[in-house]
Symmetry: C2
Subunit: 138 residues, 2 copies
């Protein structure tokens, strides 16, 4: 998927968003019985430090699908139901929001890119886990 | 997830990015002699609280053009020269980066959207200021 150019460490936000959609699409196509993921904890994931340990794989599956919908619609709800969950982030950032716009632009662009890459990996991991559960290895 | 409600306050990141490109394009078409902006301070701008007061209008003009290039190419440089300037942001955010990915996704998506809207307004203001300087009012 990565071309020669990509090796030079260039990364496109568009591409990251598309890669995520593809990973979730593949996950949806593979996971025919999502209910098998219920009550399976995430904590045997080697790179789950950033994961919410209170969620099971089924909840993760739903979350990844919901984020895909937001990514594909491109819509941002101003009175987002998720607003509360990032209230802490905003509080911490408040003094910095007055900082220079350029830094803020790069910060959010890079941030969104990084989150998309992590979410893509999560979708791929979840797909692999499902295949393990149903006893199919590839 | 969002339907009729969303229509009232729906916003698309794609649209915000496109609006910014258009505003800067218009600014470039209007400002035929950018050097006239040299040494003109930004501080008579009513909504410049967030502006970097050490910059003159000419530097702002160059900054807005540079950000447009990044927006249009969609490329993110990993070893960004701007990295240092948002090191503070990262330091403050470090404990929160381990937080749930979903909140982080919404935070950066909303953040990028807000920054683009502010930058679009800055480009429009700068274009107006130039017209004031050359004595053309519209």
């Amino acid at each position: 998927m990565q071309s020669a150019d990509a090796k030079l460490s260039r990364s496109s936000l568009q591409l990251a968003l598309r890669r995520y959609s593809t990973a979730v699409h593949n996950m949806e196509q593979t996971i025919l019985l999502p209910s098998l993921l219920r009550d399976v904890p995430y904590d045997n994931d080697p790179d789950c430090e950033a994961a919410d340990h209170s969620m099971d794989l089924y909840e993760y599956y739903l979350l990844l699908k919901a984020i895909k919908n937001t990514v594909e619609s491109g819509l941002i709800a101003h009175d987002d139901v998720k607003a509360k969950s990032h209230a802490t982030l905003h509080k911490v950032l408040e003094p910095l929001l007055e900082a220079e716009l350029e830094a803020l632009f790069h910060f959010h662009l890079q941030g969104l890119f990084t989150v998309m890459a992590t979410l893509t990996k999560k979708s791929q991991n979840l797909t692999e886990k499902y295949l393990d559960i149903v006893g199919i290895s590839r």
